[in-house]
Symmetry: C2
Subunit: 490 residues, 2 copies
């Protein structure tokens, strides 16, 4: 049994105290390579702590190479030879890098072991990936476009290029946005390394340490480390059936001066919720009143399967307050690393300076090849193709859920597009992590809800994404999930 | 004549006062569209100011769209309709973005009009580009490798990939570095979007606002906005014939706690200077003593033409203090946007977290195609090919200089590799900008020295790069430069 000496009144956060003491035990060989650590639940119980606290300490130990965690098993102390540390080839001083690195980068030491580890277990139905199925990627068509681009351009396409992005591609994007009633021109668009990089550009442009940023909760998990890195102060607004709770937003804004609001109005990640036109109008009105720039993340704008179209917030934006983030990652493929921000000319020029300082320019070859792909009508064709595929997949998923889940404590969303379905288990006698583990033992991998929350959530949630699974797998996987959930009744 | 009301004792910097007053004059139509502004020299003289002050104010006006500058002509007030500003489609409030954006991004408003504007004037010999000649880029070979990569991989190569970079490419880089006596393994290497992005990752990892960073002066111009963006405090150490002045470095370190030192030991940009093995050893010793991480920018490591090889500082680094930055941009082509940092395992893991937060992962397709290119021996072949080409070009350049410049006040460097030659004109009766302008009027474009200085330089310098020019152009261009410089005697 591990006994920790913790001081709740100390300025050092509890998780850090736990971390420090375990680290010391490992370094002084009290805990030896191969030793099992107690489960987070047991250690938390023994010390009267929140389980998240222990979890965070273990994560940090993991990140620094002190322990190994295998999904579905105990954490163990690593072989010291494997400890991630700087090589000492001589008797030079052993640098303490932790003292040297920036506080911002320290905040990133909470890596993706927060989610269920990828497993190599055979026969697993993996509902975690959120990018198009490799089976339906237009590999061959894109190859031809790349080929043609390199054949028909001289070496100049391989030099530095326009830091805003390849102009014909920006024109295509502007055109595409017009189909969604958004009127921007190519000089109001900057091409980024995927949507993630677009979000970073936005934070770089607007955020100072302690700037307040409003996010939906739950939200896109990968914006959380980014907000931490930029020392943003995060204000969480819960999401309801119709999008973020506007009443809570208004009351929050009565006492706060937010610098940005981040929202995904369509098929929100992770919940799959889509807000109505009326909701969007009111949201824009509130933000206009308080002059809060909106990041509208349209990461799956094009992937609507059922019902009539709802226009982006950006389409109603008369004062240039909305920053529309788009991406080719969820419709074509993420390997392109191409996304964009459509906003106003002033801010686009500012993004340009930031982009130049970061990496001079993007990859013109890939951008030109994609533009060729689009100009041949292949983008539209691919869109139709994957629409058809995913409409069916989503239908199968919802049908299987309808037929197999009858417990009123088990709530799931019914998305009209996108790839994700969100589950909430009320009155659960299991912790979320245990439930996710139970599902995994039945050979289905889902994403635990907690990764999508900034403040640790007390709820029991998980997300499934149908992006990489075919209809048979979806049906089978959801049946397994339903069966596992139905045991909770006992 | 424009009269400004300036207060040297104000907390507002003088250039900002000049900027504010001119902006107000433009906004209130005292200065009308098309009106000429006085030259920076005249306005500076009238108000007893340094010319750089006026220059900075004009730059900011330009960046915000208030004025237009044409190279070799006066700045004029822009047509108001062209003013870069947010679109107002309605009577919504006109946002003041400048009040909303971060102070860091404001610091980037000093864009590349600092260098001579690109000209479309015909027959210009342009000595400014610093990337391989499009004529000798192995376009066709790379096309084949891309093609083969897409043919032989399934769609997975088009998904997200390893955020450290495609592992076989990291292995190739590790192998390549061993040829320079640097022993790192693939887990100590992260692949970045070119060297610029590598520099940003380093600043992100180490720099807090007001952290001190040591740079050579003059230095790589594009690191300056990056350092500004991260609010680094810049310490400038002059560069001598044998690299940065180590005596000044030591005396500086007596009173400063620098977080990083940035150096280019080979064919330094802009000067072309290469430091000796002994210099490198002493530099490393000094940094070890003060525990200052070194960024060793090896952007043209492979491009040595004359004399015996000198080993990178990283090859002598026993305590893991050196961060070696490499790039494929200057040997293959910049459009790849591929560079790397070779360092230690601890920091590589930290870079990984930062990279994930910034953009999830890089472009695996390009990385895999490059790896295929390298594994086929094409990298080595290309290296030999461009060595041969550039050795000749550098020889011609140095020979033409030797034969045409005899004025002891005109000093130029004699690089043993790389692409750049640096000029310094002593006792000049012309300002640097006027001299660059004179050369331009004779149809040769060079890079003014000032872009490579953080603190405005009083010296008269310029840089030529032979990267994009063939032997005939080099000979002709340098003769024109020499002729122009020789008129200075009068």
């Amino acid at each position: 049994m591990i006994l920790l000496d913790l001081n709740p009144k100390s300025k050092i956060p509890l998780f850090k105290q736990v971390f420090n003491q375990l680290k010391r035990m490992i370094e002084s060989d009290i805990l030896k390579p191969g030793d099992k650590l107690p489960s987070t639940r047991i250690l938390a119980k023994q010390h009267g702590l929140n389980r998240t606290t222990i979890y965070k300490a273990y994560e940090e130990l993991w990140a620094l190479g002190y322990i190994e965690s295998k999904s579905g098993s105990y954490s163990t102390v690593r072989q010291r030879t494997k400890v991630v540390n700087i090589k000492i080839n001589s008797n030079e001083s052993n640098l303490n890098w932790e003292e040297k690195i920036s506080s911002a980068s320290m905040l990133l030491i909470e890596p993706d072991n927060k989610s269920v580890a990828k497993s190599s277990k055979k026969g697993i139905i993996d509902f975690t990936p959120l990018s198009p199925d490799p089976e339906i990627i237009p590999n061959e068509e894109f190859r031809k476009c790349l080929n043609e681009t390199l054949r028909e351009n001289d070496g100049n396409i391989l030099l530095y290029g326009d830091s805003l992005g390849y102009k014909p591609l920006r024109k295509f994007i502007a055109h595409q946005m017009q189909l969604h009633a958004v009127h921007v021109n190519s000089s109001e668009i900057i091409i980024t390394n995927g949507a993630q990089n677009a979000l970073e550009l936005l934070l770089k442009l607007f955020i100072e340490p302690n700037s307040e940023v409003i996010i939906e909760t739950p939200t896109y998990s990968a914006i959380i480390p980014l907000l931490k890195y930029y020392h943003a102060k995060i204000l969480e607004i819960p999401i309801k059936e119709d999008g973020l709770d506007l009443d809570i937003l208004e009351s929050t804004l009565a006492n706060h001066q937010a610098k940005l609001l981040y929202t995904m109005p369509n098929f929100q990640n992770p919940t799959g919720i889509t807000s109505s036109q009326a909701h969007r109008e009111r949201l824009l009105e509130i933000c206009e009143k308080h002059q809060i720039p909106i990041i509208e993340d349209g990461f799956v704008e094009e992937m609507k399967y059922f019902g009539k179209n709802i226009l982006p917030i950006k389409s109603m934006d008369k004062s240039g307050l909305v920053f529309y983030v788009g991406t080719f990652s969820k419709v074509l493929f993420p390997g392109l690393r191409l996304g964009w921000i459509a906003s106003n000319a002033y801010c686009t020029n500012r993004f340009l300076e930031i982009k130049k300082a970061s990496e001079i320019s993007g990859n013109m070859l890939i951008q030109a090849a994609l533009e060729l792909f689009c100009s041949k009508g292949l983008y539209e064709m691919q869109l139709k193709r994957i629409h058809k595929v995913y409409r069916k997949r989503m239908n199968i998923a919802l049908k299987t859920l309808r037929e197999n889940i009858h417990n009123p404590n088990i709530i799931y969303t019914k998305p009209i597009g996108g790839y994700t379905i969100w589950f909430e288990i009320n009155n659960s006698n299991k912790l979320e992590s245990d439930l996710v583990q139970m599902i995994y033992q039945n050979s289905v991998l889902v994403t635990p809800g907690n990764v999508s929350y900034y403040s640790a959530s007390e709820k029991v949630n998980f997300r499934i994404s149908i992006a990489h699974r075919n209809e048979a797998e979806i049906e089978q996987g959801i049946k397994i999930i339903a069966k596992t959930l139905n045991t909770l009744k006992d």
